[in-house]
Symmetry: C2
Subunit: 146 residues, 2 copies
Amino acid sequence: VTGGDELPRRLQRAPTWLLSQAHGHARGLLAEALGVHGARGYHYRVLAALEEQGPLSQADLGRRTAIDRSDIVAVVNELEADRLVRRAPDPGDRRRNVISLTAAGRRRLARLDEAVAGVQDRLLEPLSAGERRTLVALLSRLVDRR
Amino acid sequence: VTGGDELPRRLQRAPTWLLSQAHGHARGLLAEALGVHGARGYHYRVLAALEEQGPLSQADLGRRTAIDRSDIVAVVNELEADRLVRRAPDPGDRRRNVISLTAAGRRRLARLDEAVAGVQDRLLEPLSAGERRTLVALLSRLVDRR
DNA sequence: CAGATCTCAGCTATACTGAAATGC
DNA sequence: CGCATTTCAGTATAGCTGAGATCT
């Protein structure tokens, strides 16, 4: 037996494998599309949460974006270095920082939104509109554990 | 605004996000189930490929399992240390190692197969049998890019 | 010679843990 | 006091790159 590159049969249709492959593809598209603007997934999630919710503490940001408290620190450092967010002490609770979007952050987010929308289209390109809705509905059920 | 932990609306139904969440859940279940037997996903993939294809070179193993050539080295080291595979020089091509399953490797694989099957069931538990087939079919189309 | 193989060192993104310092 | 917040240092998995030595 010299080679070939077929996967073990056990894996071919295993849901865990399919999810891992589909996610890998999606992650690649996303990294490429966000990378054009110097961003990663964490940056997009934080900017989006700030636009939708207004200024938030780092702990709240973490809860809203499902990013760990310790990773939020690094992401906010990077966004602040690029002047996309501001970090200010909370006068009402001196343990907290209040993170808020700058005008530049809002503009960056608008461009990232377009990039992310393009990724969804390219990812779902093999499916019809109805199939896309079905997939989203089934995945939502899995994620919500109902 | 004090807190809450809802995701930004943009993300809630985005296919890339749902795939990432579903994959994260699947990966957690898999790591837990394989961890009971001291294994990770890479170990399972390599053992399964060897059982289905027979002895393979490390390069062929990598192609069959979609694992990088450099990661195969470490995985085979670990499996060999546990006496689950054997690594022997290929007499017909001295660049290659021939990796083959041991009896212990076969027994370990049987237990990992059970663990992995249990994970699929728990993962898909919120869906009916028909919905599971639909999900697998749609994900297969995404992965095969048709 | 070009090309394949194995190995090593190192890197990225995502996600998580533990602990310390500070403040409520 | 217990608890929350920020920060830092470290871990783990999956996946990848580049380079060197060896061999076809």
